[in-house]
């Protein structure tokens, strides 16, 4: 087995556009959960409306791609309002239920046959991001030893990581302001915030919208990245990957989701390449593990890693471990 090849695959996974996109969506989730304490179990729903908002605008309305991205973000605002208005005045669990259900309802809606003329139904939509690739400034692939990034990948990485770091910068500015202080107060105790004259509902709504918009932006990037979307790419498990990423890196840390995503994708692609390599090298007996099991095994391994992390660093890789030890009285 070529160790260098395995590692380079893993590094490509960790730095690739998917890692940036997941980091961006997890940054949105971090605004929800990490800073405001909102339980959003349907972040993938925001990604879905972002992706379809972009694709449909381009394909059905001949809008420029950037307008499509904005439309996707506007859809997220609407979704956040629909989810938030009835539930944010209630206890936290109601938002959790509403978001998880809404994400699934949206997926079924977009894949239903009556929506097919617009959404493409189960087949989804393809070829809507030509404009993006047409303005690719990279003319040659980048080669660093065994690492190789194509022009296309470079362009995607530049844009996706650029947006992700911009979003992280935005979050940094927000949470280090009095606005962010109110957000954290709402996370700690809504009634205490109310007793000091803070309109808790409005802050929760703003947080939900903001995090949702970042999710939608991630969805748009995902759509642009693959140039093809189907509703079944937006299954609930994506939301749980995002939670994993956020907790792995450290919730309520600005760079937590970014670090979490890099580590998550590194582990995932590393294990995949490693297991495949080990199998073809005959290190693992065929009776023990079939090639088709690799996908499942690598997630099991990531889960195991997460469990170990929770034991040894419960607040995540860069989380404030002291914060977590505060007892609740």
């Amino acid at each position: 087995m070529d160790v260098l090849a395995v590692l380079s695959v893993a590094v490509r996974g960790a730095l690739g556009p998917e890692a940036a996109i997941y980091a961006l969506a997890a940054i949105g989730l971090n605004i929800h959960f990490g800073y405001t304490g909102l339980l959003n179990f349907g972040q993938v729903g925001f990604m879905l409306v972002g992706a379809y908002g972009t694709a449909i605008s381009v394909l059905s309305f001949d809008a420029p791609l950037w307008v499509g991205v904005l439309v996707g973000m506007a859809c997220a605002v609407v979704l956040a309002l629909i989810l938030g208005i009835p539930t944010l005045r209630l206890r936290g669990d109601y938002l959790a239920i509403a978001t998880i259900a809404a994400a699934e309802v949206l997926r079924y809606l977009y894949r239903s046959s009556f929506a097919e003329p617009v959404t493409g139904g189960v087949f989804g939509l393809v070829q809507f991001a030509g404009e993006f690739y047409a303005v690719n400034p990279y003319t040659a692939p980048l080669e660093l030893g065994p690492l190789r990034f194509s022009e296309r990948a470079l362009w995607l990485m530049t844009v996706a990581w650029g947006i992700t770091f911009l979003a992280a910068g935005l979050v940094w500015l927000l949470v280090h302001s009095p606005w962010g202080r109110v957000l954290r107060a709402v996370r700690e105790d809504e009634d205490a915030a109310r007793s000091l004259g803070k309109n808790v509902f409005a802050y929760k709504m703003q947080a939900l919208v903001l995090g949702g918009v970042l999710g939608a932006l991630a969805g748009s990037l995902l759509a642009i990245n693959s140039q093809a979307i189907t509703p079944d790419a937006f299954i609930p498990i994506i939301t749980f990957y995002l939670w994993t990423i956020m907790i792995l890196g450290g919730a309520s840390r600005v760079l937590g989701p970014i670090l979490g995503s890099i580590v998550f994708w590194f582990l995932l692609t590393f294990l995949d390449a490693f297991l495949r390599g080990a199998m073809s090298a005959g290190w693992i007996p065929g009776g023990l593990l079939a090639p088709s099991d690799i996908g499942a095994v690598r997630f099991a391994a990531v889960g195991l890693g997460l469990m170990l992390l929770m034991v040894f660093r419960p607040a995540g890789l860069i989380g404030n471990q002291k914060e977590l030890r505060l007892d609740v009285r």
Binding site: L173, S195, L196, K198, N199, V200
Partner: protein, 309 residues
């Protein structure tokens, strides 16, 4: 313990005693003003006050069969320290919850500073200038003490989403708020906890923190639910002094308290609750001898002892 330390302590205790003495000997401006304002007011439940800041009518709140609050009429005089007393479960905290918008009454209307605030959301009531603390403290555990206090300031420009991105728009105001918060922390003996998470504080420190945080709002009226519970005697004395100063500056204070010595020493007016109703109100000395209060709350033993001393 070193001699120095001991001397210090003795001196501290002496000064506390002096403060107490002083308080008993010479009523403060606020106390005199309050006494004068309440001079002609009769000792009957629901009596009208000359300058009421809070007026509550027909307030009721039932939990299943429990009539937690059944207040026909209650007025709180502006610029006084009013104590709410009554046995456990009398409905004092529930009454606080109702008038501050944290709970909805089954019926009732109430107004603050001449403005009808029946049914208004709690945050708006706080913005109108009526702020409360909680019997079970609500420290914001993963915020530092300083952040806890700074949160209390009202009218913060940086608390608006878009403005928060423009640091220059709120930096100066923030510095002023920080300064005020540090002063209050010092006043409540919490300066050493400035940058510690509130979650690391002791129960008594949290009580202090919560009261200081409420004061950051600069309210016209503050409702304190057992502010002295779990606070050590020396600090209780200095807190009482602080509360009196607030009253002298014109703030209206309502506090729930079970310690009769505290009540006798600082309140201008006492309202006694029992089983949801106001059963008596009046000046501290009258309340101590009120038979209804003795039966429901003080117990005959206690009042006898006090009469002998």
């Amino acid at each position: 313990m070193s001699d120095d330390r001991h001397e210090d302590l003795l001196a501290q205790r002496e000064s506390v005693r002096e403060q107490e003495q002083e308080r008993e000997d010479t009523p403060s401006v606020g106390a005199r003003r309050a006494a004068a304002a309440l001079a002609g007011v009769a000792n009957v439940p629901g009596v009208a006050k000359p300058d009421a800041i809070l007026v509550a009518d027909d307030m009721s709140r039932h939990f299943g069969g429990v009539r937690a609050v059944e207040v026909e009429h209650l007025e709180i005089q502006r610029g006084t320290i009013t104590a709410l007393i009554g046995p456990n479960g009398a409905g004092k905290s529930t009454f606080f919850n109702l008038i501050t918008g944290f709970d909805r009454p089954n019926s009732g209307r109430w107004s603050f500073d001449g403005r009808d605030i029946s049914g208004a959301p709690s945050f708006r009531i706080a913005r109108h200038g009526m702020v409360r603390t909680f019997q079970l403290t609500k420290a914001l555990t993963r915020l530092t003490s300083l952040e806890n206090l700074m949160l209390g300031a009202t009218g913060q420009r940086g608390e608006r989403l878009l403005a928060s991105l423009l640091r220059p728009a709120w930096a100066a105001q923030e510095a002023g708020i920080r300064h005020r918060a540090e002063e209050l922390l010092a006043r409540f003996n919490l300066s050493h906890m400035r940058d510690e998470f509130a979650g690391t504080m002791s129960g008594g420190q949290r009580k202090l923190l919560e009261m200081a945080r409420a004061l950051m709002v600069q309210p016209d009226m503050i409702l304190l639910d057992e502010p002295m519970a779990g606070v050590n005697p020396a600090l209780t004395q200095s807190l009482l002094g602080h509360i009196e100063t607030l009253r002298d500056e014109g703030m209206t204070i309502v506090l729930v308290e079970h310690d009769m010595d505290v009540i006798m020493s600082i309140s201008d007016w006492v309202v006694c609750f029992a089983q949801g109703k106001v059963i008596a109100e009046g000046r501290p000395d009258d309340i101590r001898r009120d038979t209804a209060v003795i039966d429901a709350y003080l117990g005959s033993q206690r009042s006898l002892q006090e009469d002998q001393t």
